[in-house]
């Protein structure tokens, strides 16, 4: 296994310079995610308009993988519906845990491809949680109905 498969340039770039890395002051949903194993902490902020993600951001402290994953997630999900977000998460989750995800509908294929650089974690079982923390936290933010719900992966 080549380390470069895990730490691709795009991952290193997003890890070092995360996008949408800020507190969203007009968020109407948020959740805190925590990986007690490595101490990673992430907060995902959402501004939902009906079922559309009108704005999304995150902050926190984490490894390159978890930071890059959160960063890419926010870029991809901006403007998406919750149903589309859920489909993308399901696809990504299956890809990194089972090695393969279900086919995506045509309009999401491109977004799925943008997540490919992160799927190197499937060869590093100890790191899968790092790649999925932000997504699990997003899920909690949506379900939380605007109330912070702590999420833990370990």
């Amino acid at each position: 296994m080549d380390l470069r498969d895990l730490y691709q340039d795009i991952v290193l770039d997003h890890g070092r310079h995360p996008r949408n890395f800020r507190v969203l002051t007009d968020a109407n949903h948020l959740a805190h995610g925590h990986n007690p194993l490595c101490g990673d902490k992430v907060t995902v902020f959402l501004r939902l308009e009906d079922d559309r993600i009108a704005d999304i951001s995150f902050d926190g402290k984490g490894c390159a993988i978890s930071t890059a994953s959160a960063s890419l997630m926010t870029e991809i999900l901006l403007g998406k519906t919750l149903a589309e977000a859920s489909t993308l998460f399901g696809h990504f989750h299956d890809t990194v845990t089972k090695g393969d995800g279900a086919d995506l509908p045509p309009d999401l294929v491109e977004d799925g491809e943008r997540l490919l650089p992160l799927t190197g974690v499937k060869s590093y079982p100890a790191r899968v949680k790092c790649a999925t923390l932000a997504w699990h936290t997003l899920e909690a933010a949506v379900k939380g109905g605007g109330i912070a719900q702590p999420v833990k992966t370990e």
Binding site: L3, L6, R16, C38, G62, C63, A64, I65
Partner: protein
């Protein structure tokens, strides 16, 4: 306050014994050629003397203890009790002061659950330090609500060592127990425990020392230290998992109520009333970890063969060398460990999270621990979510540390920093 010190120490003199030679006594290295094992503080590898000795015990001498009339059981009992003697000798204690437990964690829980309710009153204080492992925090917290006692925390100073002035200030008439580590697991900080025992006893407090990281690294003499309780885990000092020992100074055990009931810990049982054994047996309910105790004795004999002073010199040499080699790399800072660091070095690399580092190291066959090291309060105090820790054993060599330093540079290259 700068707790992350940039250290530049020159390498010390040559090791006190030949670790290359010793390595051959550890089968793991033959099966895993190229392994750079720098996680001994989490658990040590096992020498053939322990692995083979355990198999030999099962093959030749095994039966349950303290029960059988037959000779095989007598022989097994003899070996089990001889193991207690070995632990006692190793710590300069007597066998009646040694309780076999699953590990340091169980030892601390035993003291908390048995000694605690018997000797603590509401308003009493237990003084711990910021350096503690969760195992020396949580058992005392569990007593807090039950007994109405307080947990007081002695802080570290700007160098990462225990702030002794603050410790002395916090020690008061309400302090009934001081529970501190002998060597800190995150930083390798050697705590001045003899001084702590002296101050604590002068204040009328009992002292429990967590010797998990000390017993594998330096000679421990509980008599000389004068502590009341001392705990350690067998698996960190080259013995099996699931076994450890609690030392309780002469007389203390007899005053403590049993904490688990069952066979072996009783003298007589009838439905109306049960009378208990005295001394260590009172705390060893049920069939004990017989082979674990024997394995632990084999491990301690192995360490005695090397010599406590020689082990300490070897650990100190590697620690100085690691400080120098890591300190030489731009962007690397060491977590401060006060006046003396022994056997473990926690460090940070600018721009690379410890979890990423450990994954990259693993590709170079360098095994280290990354995370909070079961010491979240200390990590919070340091303002760090995690660190990377390299720790050493008798089989560790300077070449291992060279490989670590090379892996750090490779990670920096990969991350472009």
């Amino acid at each position: 306050m700068n707790l992350l010190l940039k250290e530049r120490t020159m390498p010390a003199t040559a090791p006190a014994f030949d670790p290359e030679e010793l390595r051959r006594q550890f089968p793991i290295f033959a099966r895993n050629p190229g392994l750079v094992f720098l996680d001994t503080a989490a658990s040590a590898q096992k020498p053939a003397a322990v692995i083979d000795g355990l198999a030999d015990f099962y093959r030749g001498d095994y039966a349950n203890v303290h029960r059988g009339v037959y000779r095989l059981s007598a022989r097994s009992t003899e070996r089990y009790e001889a193991a207690r003697e070995t632990v006692a000798r190793f710590l300069n204690a007597t066998a009646s002061e040694i309780v076999f437990v699953r590990g340091a964690t169980e030892g601390i829980n035993l003291v908390a659950q048995s000694w605690g309710p018997a000797f603590l009153q509401p308003g009493d204080q237990i003084l711990v330090s910021e350096l503690e492992h969760h195992s020396n925090i949580v058992p005392w917290q569990m007593l807090r609500h039950r007994l109405g006692i307080e947990l007081v925390v002695a802080p570290i100073d700007g160098t990462g060592g225990l702030d002794m002035a603050a410790f002395a200030r916090l020690l008061g008439p309400r302090t009934k127990l001081v529970a501190v580590t002998h060597v800190a697991n995150v930083s390798g900080c050697v705590v001045p425990v003899a001084e702590i025992v002296r101050l604590s006893h002068a204040a009328g407090a009992r002292v429990l020392l967590d010797g998990c990281q000390a017993v594998p690294r330096l000679p421990v003499d509980v008599r000389a230290l004068g502590c009341d309780f001392y705990v350690f885990s067998g698996h960190k000092c080259y013995g099996p998992t699931g076994i450890g020992a609690l030392y309780a100074r002469n007389g203390l055990l007899d005053a403590m109520p049993p904490w688990q009931g069952g066979g072996d810990m009783i003298r007589t049982v009838c439905f109306e009333e049960t009378t208990y054994q005295e001394g260590p047996q009172r705390f060893e309910a049920g069939t004990p970890d017989i082979s674990g105790a024997i394995g632990l004795a084999l491990a301690l004999d192995f360490m005695t063969g090397l010599g406590g002073d020689a082990i300490r010199a070897h650990e100190a040499d590697l620690t100085r060398y690691a400080e120098a080699m890591l300190g030489d790399i731009p962007g690397v800072s060491l977590v401060g460990a006060g006046p003396e660091r022994l056997g473990a070095v926690s460090f940070l690399v600018d721009g690379i999270h410890p979890h990423d580092l450990a994954t990259i190291f693993d590709q170079y066959d360098v095994a280290v621990r990354a995370g909070h090291h079961c010491a979240q309060p200390l990590m919070d105090r340091l303002g760090l979510p995690a660190t990377t820790r390299a720790s050493f054993g008798v089989y560790s060599t300077r070449a291992d540390i060279d490989a670590l330093a090379a892996a750090v540079r490779a990670a920096q290259k990969l991350f472009g920093c």
